[in-house]
């Protein structure tokens, strides 16, 4: 039973599902960071999304933008590290752009992702090709722009695939940012850990609407 758009309650449930999925992926994410960085990425994401789940459970969000932003704020203030800043910014900047929207639909997804990319790039200065989360975000945002008038289920499926493709492409890149920055070509062959996190987030959103 796929959904055309999501109510506030459904957005909250979806974000909760995203949090569960990331928390369960801690070992995989830490292992990914171990190959390219200091091995703590999964732990940071787990910390951030555990805090986010608490905020989501408290509820009382007036609108969907605030729900996304609450996740971002929880991550930003509990995680620290590069990913606390980056993923906190992702959810906060993306969420902020949804102000005034009553439901979350394919147009909202496109808006969310575009603003998230902007926010993350303003904060971290990474470009496509630098082996960061940006490599998964930019293709997903572009895909979502093209599907912004269609069905949310399909838009999310396409965006998740695009993220996955970007994450795969990051394998061949030389890292420039984060603790991995000076690994140079030592990290070639391994995907970026943040790109993997972002892909899992998009897939969890897709899976939620597909249920």
């Amino acid at each position: 039973m796929s959904k055309a758009n999501l109510t506030l309650d459904e957005v909250v449930a979806m974000l909760d599902r995203v949090a569960d999925k990331i928390i369960a992926s801690e070992p995989e994410l830490s292992e990914a960071d171990r190959n390219i960085g200091d091995g703590d990425h999964g732990l940071g994401m787990q910390r951030g999304l555990t805090a986010a789940k608490e905020k989501l459970a408290e509820g009382g969000f007036p609108s969907i933008d605030k729900a996304f932003m609450a996740v971002g704020t929880a991550m930003m203030s509990s995680m620290g590290g590069a990913s606390g800043a980056i993923f906190g910014t992702l959810f906060r900047a993306g969420g902020k752009a949804l102000k005034g929207q009553g439901v979350f639909d394919s147009a909202g997804l496109a808006t969310f992702l575009q603003a998230a990319v902007q926010g993350v790039q303003d904060r971290g200065k990474a470009e496509v090709g630098d082996k960061t989360v940006v490599d998964a975000m930019v293709p997903a945002a572009e895909k979502a722009k093209g599907t912004s008038e269609g069905n949310l289920t399909e838009a999310l499926a396409a965006a998740a695939d695009a993220a996955e493709g970007g994450k795969e492409a990051s394998k061949d890149m030389v890292a420039k940012f984060g603790r991995a920055k000076t690994l140079g070509d030592g990290a070639v062959g391994h995907p970026d850990a943040g790109a993997l996190s972002f892909t899992i987030i998009m897939q969890a959103m897709r899976d939620y609407v597909n249920e």
Binding site: D38, D40, M79, G80, A85, G124, F177, R179, T182
Partner: protein, 334 residues
Amino acid sequence: MRKTPKIINDPNACAAELLDGLVEAYDGEAKKVGAGSIVMSDLPDGKVALLVGGGSGHEPIYHGLVGSNMADGAACGDIFAAPPPNIVLEATQAVDRGKGVLYLYGNYAGDVMNFDMGAELADDEDIRVETVLIWDDVASAPPERKEDRRGIAGLVLIVKIAGAAASTVDSLDELVRVTTKARDNTRSVGVAVAAGSIPATGEPTFDLAEGMMGVGMGIHGEKGVRVDPLCTADEMAPQLLDIVFGDDLEFGDGDEVILFINSLGATTQMELLILNRAIKPLLAAKGIKVYDTVIGDIVTCQEMAGLSVSLLKLDDELKKYWDMPCQSVGYSKM
């Protein structure tokens, strides 16, 4: 490899618990502030403030460098994770005495982003903040790309100088000037021979084949300049110094330096001293005079094995600040 057994409680609570224990180690001289900061208890009004910080797990840095004539406070993150912006803000507010705050920390993307966000929040509260990034690891990027270099053990010497200056100078600008000079006069290079592990997972932070050494590797296991079979201390000394002397800062006849040989954790002081024995004649041969030698494990990565060599080139002003006594859990001087 059998893991080094750790004496801890909840593996996910290490950062929070060690901070509590650190505050206790100051016996009232420092206090915990907000969610994750440690700040000296009695900071005089009008003092220019020095704030350091970074991820936990590298004890005693950074938070153990809070002290008399050392840092006024530290913003602490989780294990290997920069402190979040709200913690940076809480620390900033706690150390500010009206003359502004210098942020002094290692140049890692996460730290830069989080401290920058903290500075933006501090600006909203009308607190003036300046930043000096520590990037002493010459093996992490060529001299033309200093801003891509990591901060490693040289930070101890820079924080020592900055802490003495912060107790002395009248303005934040003056502290920035002195600290920048200390930073620009410091060069380090490390070598890793075995990985430490992340307390929460027990996993090593990197892989290094048995019997090998990673010359130039960073304190989280970031890639260095080459991986070679482990050599002797006498063979290692010139290799490390060559990397430092190959950099853009001249060290030559008549120069006076602070020499710091740091253990990354499980490497013993015995080894640091054996390396010191090999290094001293090489410095003497270049006419470099060692004004003071620091030996210890102050910048660590859990039970990682390996060491680093740092040189801080002195002038009369830096020497004056170096000579001041200081007291902290991580570094003290009579």
